[in-house]
């Protein structure tokens, strides 16, 4: 799989932030295709509260970086209509929690229009939104709701975990002829990583093995990849070699890579920052349990966010999310080393 990710053109590779990688992808696609535009709250001069889009309005103007009123269902719906008629909108939904406001436009409209029209209408749109707790922003600005769009046929869901993945996957998402929900971990925005200058794309639906190992498989999405890699480091010092896999997209899901790894290691923990109950971890665990059953030495375990509204108080909030410590303990137990 890793060969697919290598850029074919060797260009200058810089260390840039996740935010810069997203911005670079958007700028490149907007230069390349005049039908690409951005719409959302505070996207122009403000560059969003996360400053991800800073500067884009200077290059592309307010006609292509459109500040909308605080009307998420309205501008999401307009994005759908624009996408159906020749444009490629990137709609900014500031916080993932606001998916609650716009699920009709995403799930009932965007996701179904191609199918309901018998394949005649297309909705090439990207809904950019965010996930992640521990920013001390309370229950309505901290959720990781990727399970919602992942559940709906007709949508693709992308969860990049590195600046490199973010740029390559954003460019692919914009060029995709389907609605894509692109979810960024707010805590990752300022993290840095190597990103090539210029053109490269990454395929949607291909997982990446972030670290190889033979003893246990840790499948982790988005914000949880760093947790899994951190746990893998600690496990290595105990002689347990964890393989860390990032599915990178939940729909479509690269089931083959997940199953093959679990078949190799015989043990798997799946990790996602969404609520655990009925969450992304449930689907990932079921895929592995089904596909690797005869190879497993232990039941597939999963770790998601605690099933409570995200509390404000820092010591309480910190309890609700998976951590390196909790994952390390669970992995040790699963490997009989607790």
């Amino acid at each position: 799989m890793s060969t697919l990710e290598t850029p074919t053109i060797t260009t200058n590779v810089r260390e840039i932030t996740f935010s810069q990688a997203i911005r670079e992808a958007l700028a490149e696609e907007m230069r390349r295709d005049p039908t690409v535009f951005i719409i959302g709250e505070d996207v122009a001069e403000a560059g969003t509260p996360f400053k991800v889009l800073l500067g884009l309005v200077d290059e592309f103007g307010t006609q292509r970086v459109i500040d909308a009123p605080i009307s998420e269902p309205g501008f999401c719906g307009m994005g759908v209509g624009a996408a159906m008629t020749g444009m490629r909108p990137v709609v900014d939904i500031m916080f993932g929690d606001f998916l609650g406001l716009v699920m009709d436009q995403i799930a009932n409209q965007a996701a179904k229009i191609h199918y309901m029209s018998g394949g005649k209408l297309f909705v090439p749109i990207v809904f950019r939104t965010s996930l992640g707790a521990t920013r001390r922003t309370g229950a309505q600005h901290s959720q990781s709701l990727q399970a919602w769009p992942s559940h709906i046929p007709g949508l693709k869901v992308v969860l990049p975990s590195t600046p490199y993945d973010a740029k390559g996957l954003m460019k692919t998402a914009i060029r995709d002829n389907n609605p894509v929900v692109f979810i960024e971990d707010k805590m990752l925005h300022q993290t840095k990583g190597p990103v090539p200058e210029g053109e490269y794309t990454l395929p949607i639906g291909i997982a990446e093995i972030k670290r190889s190992g033979d003893d246990i498989t840790l499948v982790a999405t988005s914000s949880m990849v760093q947790v899994a890699l951190g746990a893998a480091d600690r496990l290595a010092s105990l002689g347990i070699h964890a393989e860390v896999i990032d599915p990178r997209t939940t729909t479509p899901l690269d089931t083959e890579t997940l199953i093959r790894s679990a078949q190799k290691t015989g043990r798997a923990i799946v990790l996602d920052e969404g609520y655990q109950r009925y969450g992304v971890t449930a689907e990932l665990a079921a895929v592995i349990a089904d596909g690797a059953f005869y190879y497993l030495d232990a039941p597939v375990k999963r770790m998601g966010a605690m099933d409570v509204p995200v509390p404000f108080s820092p010591p309480l909030e910190d309890l609700t999310v998976p951590t390196i410590e909790k994952l390390t303990e669970m992995a040790k137990t699963l490997c009989g080393r607790a």
Binding site: Q63, S71, H114, K120
Partner: protein, 343 residues
């Protein structure tokens, strides 16, 4: 909560209001609109029959009584202008140019339908005639139609977008959000509110506060209110609004006072608990758009009654052939079920 006294019916206005401008329009164009209205009328009668004789799966929401709205508005549009339609959408699809046979095929879930049978009555879409689709979410076309107007403006195509919806959709917040943006950005869109006075099974005045027209006016959107049973008034008003939108003057809101002859859907038969029979009879007998138009053409243009009969016979033949085509058409192959989920 307030309750409506249904002993006070909502009666139609009496007669048509004439305008000398009507007589200056070519009779062929009025005859075309007359034919389109008849087509919708007979189409819906057949749909009701298919339902009652259990030859159609599911339900349908009939457009009967509202024909002049779709026909008058769509007649004012160019072929590449776009529309969004509603759960009560057959009339819009036909008026924008859809074929009867493929419409019936879609209603029966057949492969030859506009959406390969995957959409059904509430989801007919036909990009070739500018129809961006009917929508089973009340007000669901608001975002799409306004987005199409934004797209037309960004691409510089000179297209106008029309968003059809009923008075029931005035309860949907998203409509106000997109009207706000359409007004701010002077988008080429006409919001056509088909005020048939009922939000499903509830009289709309029971659930809508204030004046309907005051709502778009709050955004600075010009509002026109017409007799939706008078295709002449709908058409000439729509022409004016569409031209203004095409010139870049921004959105408009057109309220068409109309009536739904049948219930909310074909299965809504016993409905005297929410509206009186005499009200339905009054609209059918005194203010039917097709009848009124036929009478006017006979008097204003000396059209022979036999010509109108000929048109009706032609329409009936087309409808009969369409039903036959659809009933004989095959269902989709079963392997179609997971096709078109993704492009």
């Amino acid at each position: 909560m307030p309750e409506r006294d249904i002993s006070v019916p909502i009666f139609p206005r009496i007669g048509l209001v004439d305008d000398p401008a009507y007589g200056k329009i070519d009779i062929e164009q009025w005859l075309h609109m007359y034919e389109q209205m008849l087509k919708i009328h007979h189409f819906e009668e057949s749909v009701n029959e298919l339902y009652k004789t259990a030859r159609m799966p599911g339900l349908a929401h009939l457009y009967s009584g509202e024909e002049a709205v779709a026909v008058g508005v769509c007649e004012a549009l160019n072929p590449d202008d776009t529309i969004t339609s509603t759960h009560r959408g057959h009339g819009h699809c036909l008026a924008k140019g859809a074929q009867v046979d493929r419409m019936f095929a879609e209603l029966l879930g057949k492969a030859a339908g506009y959406c390969k049978g995957k959409g059904g009555s509430m989801h007919i879409a036909d990009p070739e005639t500018g129809n961006l689709g009917a929508n089973a979410i009340v007000g669901g076309g608001g975002g799409i139609a306004t987005g199409a107007a934004l797209s037309a403006k960004m691409r510089g195509t000179n297209q106008v977008s029309v968003c059809f919806f009923g008075d029931g959709a005035m309860g949907q917040g998203v409509l106000y959000e997109v009207m706000n943006m359409a007004a701010l950005w002077k988008l080429p869109i006409i919001y056509v509110c088909e005020n048939n006075h009922y939000s499903e099974y509830t009289v709309t005045t029971e659930v809508n506060a204030g004046e309907l027209r005051a709502r778009p006016q709050a955004f600075g959107i010009p509002v026109e209110e017409v007799d939706g049973q008078d295709v002449r008034q709908v058409y000439t008003t729509a022409m004016r609004l569409v031209s203004a939108a095409r010139r870049g003057e921004g959105p408009a809101f057109l309220i068409c006072d109309t009536y739904r002859y049948y219930g909310h859907h074909v299965g809504d038969v016993n409905r005297t608990y929410y509206r009186p029979k005499e009200e339905e009879e009054a609209w059918r007998a005194q203010h039917d758009p097709i009848q009124l138009m036929g009478n006017w053409m006979c008097s204003a243009y000396s059209v022979q009654a036999s010509l109108l009969d000929d048109i009706e016979q032609k329409v009936i033949a087309e409808i009969t052939a369409g039903v036959e085509f659809a009933e004989k058409a095959p269902f989709p192959q079963l392997d179609e079920v997971d096709q078109d989920v993704y492009a």
